[in-house]
Structures are given as C-alpha cells and as structure tokens.
Symmetry: C2
Subunit: 161 residues, 2 copies
C-alpha cells in the first residue's frame, strides 16, 4: 500500500485500513444492517479475521460506520473481487458507501487492478443496493436464478477501472 | 455418499471417488491437456489435496482418464460449483467427459442440490469446452470481459438439476 494513504475528505469521512479494535464495529454493522443471515455474518467476520483480504473502514465523525473487504480474484491477472461492503444503517444515505467504494477502486488501480467484480442478490429488498452499484458505474454481467435460495437470484456486476 | 455407488457402465467406463493413488494421473492430465497454466495446475491440485471438495475420477479400461472437482457453493442452500473438470487428451471425444458430468449431476441431486454453476473461458480455444457444456444442457448466464487476462473473458453457465 506504499503511496496510498488514508483519506480525510468531504463530509467528515476518513477511510483507512482496518485495525484490530475495529472488529467490534464491523460485527455490529453486519448484524444491525439486517441484510445478512447469521451464516453470512459469520463468514464475513472469518474473512476479516483471516488476514487474507484487504479490508478498509470508513469513519464518520470519528466512529467507524462502514467497511469493505476486497481481494485479487484467484487465477486472474488484473481482476479484483468485492467480497463484502456494509454501511451501518445510522450512516446510510449520507455518502459514506460511495466514498468507500471510490476509495477502494482507487486503491485497486494503485495495485494495477483493471476491473472489480461483485455478486449481489436479485431480491426486492436489495434493489437499493443494486441501484448503488449502477450509480457507481457497475454493469450487470449476468444472473443465476435461485442461486442463494428459492427466489433469491445472484446478480453479477463488474466495472472496468 | 450413502446410496451412491461407483458406476460401471457403457463404453468400459467406471466412475468412482478419487483415491490417493489417483493423484499422479490427475496431475498428468492437467498438464497434458494443455488447457491450464502452471498456476492453474497448482491450484487444481491444491484443491484435490485439501480434502475440502468432492472429487470423482473416470476410468477407461482400468486407467484413470479424467476427473471432476465439485463442492457446495458457500452461502447458498442448494447450489453447487463445478470447479474443475479435465479429461486426458488421449481419452477425449469418446464420451468420458459427458458420462462424468452426468454422474456428477446425479450425485448432486442425491445431495438435494438443485443447480450446478461453473465458469469457463471465452477464448477461442475453449470453444469445444463451451459447446460441451451447452450440449450437456447448461445455459449461459453472463460474461465478464477480460476477466482472466486481456482478451480472456469469463463465461458463466448454470444448469437446473
């Protein structure tokens, strides 16, 4: 991460790599946001704890209100995966998610990454999430019906960076 | 795998779970088929060795000539992933791949799996592979340009079982 530094920017937001004391805030937002099953929360935290991924947090007014977990996609040259992004409900609709996403994209560019791919749910209650990615410039690449469970499709997105 | 047994069927083919002495044949076919980079061969063998996946081999006239590596897709209820399939070039075009694929699908059904998803390359030299999946009833679900490397798209397929 040489040459890539925490960003203190607009709207009192600071974005920086996750540190050990942030774990409690990350666990809290994964539960409080209501979007994830218990199994999903467990896997998301395992990935944070593993040290195998790059994890950034966003602070608003000094409190961690969101995080993002990314990594190089195995067996690809310049593709990265967005595994998780979560913004605490109390901080949503105030630009923290988009600022975090733009920071992550800039970080990936700094690592010579050329595209970011992600999967999300096709469920009605994920419509705001899908609109978020579309506003951020992601293209829908495909859909697999019933992927997560009956009535819960997987929708693939990617963005060329 | 209770109630699911090796299949000795048409064309002198036997399909059964991988055993430790099969590893050399699997490594040989991954190299000899010419479809995989050194890094891909290394990852494929790591997955065989890990014990975390379900691996079947197909024997023709008593010699292992192909293998398939599958597993439940994390965070889904009834979706499985086909991670690798490889048939030794000397055994290709003789039905071993399709017999192995049908066996794998039947195994997944026996585990209450309802769909199998896979990713393959969009490269011209993978056209025969894509036609294989299409003949086997797989639908193209999407494509991400340049996913593996420049000019090497990822193509997603799925089949409802």
């Amino acid at each position: 991460m040489a040459g890539f530094h925490p960003q203190a920017g607009r709207m009192g937001l600071t974005i920086r790599p996750l540190q050990a004391p942030d774990r409690e805030a990350v666990a809290g937002m994964l539960v409080d946001c209501g979007a994830f099953s218990g199994e999903e929360v467990r896997v998301a935290l395992e990935m944070v704890d593993s040290g195998d991924y790059t994890v950034f947090v966003v602070e608003q007014d000094g409190a961690v209100c969101g995080y993002s977990c990314i990594g190089r996609t195995p067996l690809t040259l310049t593709t990265w995966h967005l595994y998780w992004i979560c913004i605490h409900p109390r901080a949503q609709r105030r630009g923290a998610g988009m600022a975090l996403q733009q920071y992550v994209e800039e970080f990936i560019r700094s690592q010579k990454g050329e595209r970011l791919v992600l999967e999300t749910s096709g469920r009605a209650d994920y419509e705001r999430t899908r609109r978020f990615y579309e506003r951020a410039g992601y293209q829908q690449a495909g859909r697999i019906p019933g992927f997560y469970k009956a009535g819960d499709d997987c929708v693939f997105y990617f963005k060329l960076l």
